[in-house]
């Protein structure tokens, strides 16, 4: 079983829509949860990170962690064409290793 699973999509939405991106993870001991955005032919860039359960908001982006169901989500409000990218979830274990989902490709149509 992989440490983190992510629906690869692709996901296509109209501009202004609310986008929901999701991952599940296997180890209940994980505590740090991250979301990265990766544009084509670029390196991943850190969008947000959360610690333990709960929500964290940054502008149009909200990260949510539900440790009871081992489920993490990223919501994008008022989506823009510039949000078109691949979104990667990631989890850090208690040591030094990070585990990444395979990424969800998002296209926002003007």
């Amino acid at each position: 079983q992989k440490e983190v699973e992510q629906d690869p999509g692709p996901l296509s939405v109209p501009e202004g829509a609310i986008v929901s991106l999701n991952c599940t993870y296997s180890n209940s001991a994980f505590q740090y949860f991250m979301w990265y955005r990766q544009y084509s032919r670029k390196g991943p860039e850190l969008l947000m990170y959360t610690y333990s359960s709960g929500n964290k908001e940054d502008g149009r982006f909200t990260a949510q962690v539900d440790k009871s169901s081992k489920y993490i989500s990223l919501f994008i409000r008022d989506s823009q064409p510039s949000d078109s990218a691949t979104y990667l979830c990631a989890i850090k274990d208690t040591g030094n290793q990070f585990y990444f989902g395979t990424g969800t490709s998002l296209t926002v149509i003007p």
Binding site: Y51, A90, K92, F98, G101
Partner: protein, 115 residues
């Protein structure tokens, strides 16, 4: 931008050839990582380093070695390149150390093709 550069950015090499990729950082972060990214697999950890001359294996370390003789440089070597090592390689640093180092920043990547 966490001051991470990778070289070369693109490389085509032949099977059986040794290849070294370089990652350079300008901010003296202790932790550095090498990943490969492939369709359907996402980012997979090859090796990481937690200080000068201190390295450890990741999920897909077979066929790869690393060295870190200076804080700012982390080298990844493919001893004898194979076609299965055709991939995009990313270097990363984490900020904050082992326990709190949950912010990871990536370089621009190296596209390696083994023919």
């Amino acid at each position: 931008d966490a001051g991470i550069t990778q070289s070369p950015r693109h490389k085509v090499t032949e099977t059986g050839t040794p290849v070294t990729l370089r990652c350079h950082q300008t901010e003296n972060h202790r932790y550095m990582y090498w990943y490969r990214q492939d369709p359907g697999h996402g980012l997979r950890l090859i090796h990481y380093s937690y200080g000068v001359k201190d390295t450890d294996k990741g999920e897909v370390s077979d066929g790869y070695s690393v060295s870190r003789s200076k804080t700012e440089d982390f080298l990844l070597t493919l001893e004898s390149a194979t076609s299965s090592q055709t991939s995009v390689y990313f270097c990363a640093i984490s900020v904050g150390g082992a326990v709190n180092g949950h912010e990871q920043y990536f370089g621009p990547g190296t596209r390696l093709t083994v023919t």
